[in-house]
């Protein structure tokens, strides 16, 4: 119903509402534009000098315009209180409890996305900027902390299970970035000094999206939407949505790697 808008293929549970709101708003805009535009053009043709020598001092007498303006106000009111505000409330106030969702921390930096899974214990290990090292430990994760032992970190690769609520806790190390995934209809600034949680439910696996779009190498992309310096255009991450099993398998392997004693550490 909203294909005509040219939005990217939809792949999240809440996205439908957003699309239809955008859709209806644009229908409303089109009606206004065509309505007003039609009247406008008609006036230009009918009242051009050559055809209408003497202007009419009073012009329009009817109050139709007042009604149309009230109409505009009413429609805007409906879009606002009927849709926009409630949907936003759902985004913000009805965040699922952590135990029902996959919680993952995504930290933006110039110019990459650091992904951090708490691992089986569901607890994020301590991080400390003193331990931070661009190559080996970009998050400054303190491996000596028991909670950190099973933590998994990746760079620019966000793996998610399909049809399960995901809570992404957004952070930033340096400047403001913005975490946007067009197909999920999510976008949120990552602001240094704050941790901002957002949630959504991916509904289409990467594999399925590949068959749907017919693009063999299709990938969900994380696009940084906030100017963050010269690498802004290249601050690109990837989301891989898998079935619950595939995802569990992937996570277990990473956990194993992480907890294995590493001679270099």
């Amino acid at each position: 119903m909203t294909d005509w808008l040219g939005l990217p293929a939809l792949a999240s549970a809440h996205g439908g509402q957003i699309d239809s709101l955008i859709g209806w708003t644009h229908v409303f805009m089109l009606i206004l534009f065509v309505g007003w535009g039609g009247f406008f053009v008609y006036c230009l043709i009918r009242f051009r000098r050559s055809r209408h020598q003497a202007a009419n001092y009073t012009g329009v007498k009817s109050h139709a315009s007042n009604y149309s303006e009230i109409g505009v106000a009413v429609v805007e009111g409906i879009l606002l209180f009927g849709f926009a505000i409630p949907i936003w409330a759902a985004r913000v106030d009805r965040m699922p409890p952590a135990h029902e969702a996959l919680v993952v921390q995504v930290t933006g930096e110039q110019f990459a996305w650091n992904v951090h899974y708490p691992g089986p214990d569901g607890v994020f290990g301590r991080t400390d900027i003193k331990l931070l090292d661009l190559q080996t430990n970009p998050l400054g994760l303190d491996r000596s902390d028991p909670a950190a032992k099973d933590d998994v970190t990746t760079l620019n690769q966000l793996y998610l299970p399909v049809n399960k609520p995901v809570i992404v806790r957004l952070k930033s190390k340096d400047v403001i970035h913005s975490f946007g995934v067009p197909e999920f209809r999510v976008k949120q600034d990552a602001i240094p000094g704050l941790t901002i949680p957002i949630w959504f439910v991916p509904t289409v696996t990467t594999a399925e999206m590949r068959t749907r779009t017919g693009k063999a190498e299709f990938q969900y992309e994380i696009a940084c939407a906030q100017l963050c310096g010269l690498g802004h255009a290249r601050m690109r991450g990837f989301v891989t949505v898998q079935t619950a099993e595939e995802f569990q398998k992937w996570l277990d392997e990473r956990v194993k790697e992480a907890s294995e004693p590493d001679p270099f550490r």
Partner: protein, 110 residues
């Protein structure tokens, strides 16, 4: 009224200038007293909320005294009032700004 003075400085105005001057002196005394009060109160080490209210209250009184008498707002023209009321409204909007930022975000500050 002040600008009317300015407009025509006839003898009989001199009289109410004297009245003005007396007012200025009283206001000056009041300001002094209030200054002492704020400082004194600050040494009482009241709980912060209390201290803030008292300090700002006193400051506001002092401020209004200056504005009303030294700046003659007490007897100013409608137009000036209009401008200042408008400003006051936006000033409030501006002060609401911090509240906006802290009170209503869904972030977890560190």
């Amino acid at each position: 009224m002040t600008s009317d003075h300015a407009a025509d400085m006839t003898g009989d105005h001199a009289a109410d200038i004297d009245r003005h001057v007396r007012v200025y002196i009283t206001v000056f005394v009041a300001l002094m007293v209030l200054t002492i009060v704020t400082v004194a109160v600050s040494y009482l080490d009241l709980p912060i909320a209390m201290a803030v209210t008292v300090a700002l209250l006193v400051a506001t009184i002092k401020g209004s005294l200056v504005a009303c008498y030294f700046m003659h707002l007490i007897s100013e023209k409608k137009l000036i009032y209009a401008v200042l009321i408008l400003t006051a409204v936006f000033f409030v909007a501006l002060l609401a700004l911090p509240a906006v930022t802290h009170s209503n975000g869904y972030w977890i500050p560190e």
